[in-house]
Symmetry: C2
């Protein structure tokens, strides 16, 4: 199934000159949602992940469904103060300034195989932070999987050394 028709361009969002890739029409279409989850899971089935890790809020949209399709669990990375138990923290670079993500310290066990997921790979800062958090908990990152990749932002550079795959790539 060609998923591209379900992703729409929103010019000048969130600021002038930026074209936002809006995946909400894909999520709202039953067959497209099903196909996206199945395709993401199929890409990583042979990596046998125990866990999928994703960051709020948009990493929560497909991460648990992909985890379920793979027979894996889902681990939440959240903004500071949102997770109720003991956490580890990673800072990451945003276009302007820095962000922080937290993971429960007991969310990943030593040696567990982790698939890092987000809906979209842009500059790679969030995904890099997720890799660091998973590894800080002694997990093994087996791959980083995205629905959409904006190749012109070169997020793969920040994920050097990791196996990175995306279902749909935009080069402009």
């Amino acid at each position: 199934m060609d998923l591209r028709p379900f992703i729409r361009d929103i010019p000048d969002f969130p600021k002038p000159g930026v074209v936002f890739k809006d995946i909400t029409p894909l999520l709202a279409d039953g067959p497209a949602l099903d196909a996206a989850v199945a395709a993401l899971a199929d890409r990583f089935r042979d990596r046998r992940p125990d866990l999928v890790v994703g960051a709020e809020a948009r990493g929560f949209l497909l991460g648990p469904a992909v985890a379920r399709e793979l027979g894996a669990g889902f681990v939440l990375a959240r903004r500071p103060g949102k997770l109720p138990h003991d956490t580890v923290t990673a800072e990451y670079e945003l276009e302007y300034g820095r962000g922080t993500l937290e993971l429960h310290t007991d969310a990943v066990s030593a040696g567990e195989r982790v698939l890092v997921h987000d809906d979209l790979l842009a500059t790679g800062g969030t995904a890099r932070a997720l890799c660091e958090l998973a590894e800080a908990a002694d997990g093994t990152v087996v791959a980083c999987g995205f629905l959409v990749e904006l190749t012109f932002l070169e997020g793969r550079k920040r994920l050097d050394g990791y196996d990175v795959e995306a279902l749909i790539a935009y080069d402009s």
Copy 2:
């Protein structure tokens, strides 16, 4: 499968005197995640929803997976300014003050059957706002489905007239 052992109490979170029901161990366990999604979907299969609607961030965790299991699509409700296209807005009551959620105006079509979902039913403010947003778009709310219900907060009162179901209820 008994899901209760996968939900843990966190005392004094987010503030002293409150016991937080932490569902992250359930999400992180593959079989428990699978069972929770299957059980939620089974409860509402005969309602034949076209769409599941959930609010960021925690409504995104199970909502799309339940939608997929039901052959439905998933529609995002987000905080103001996060959705890139034209939106409708609903305000709702929080314990202190008010919150606002937005839905894309084109996310729900007239007559579509909507399952409102959140991970947890507390005072019912968020779910009520989701019902109002779905109906503002001329959708029909066929049920409100939750993983966890805190019955002592009486959220059902705010959802009077709707069919409300939760997999797990805590009465204190």
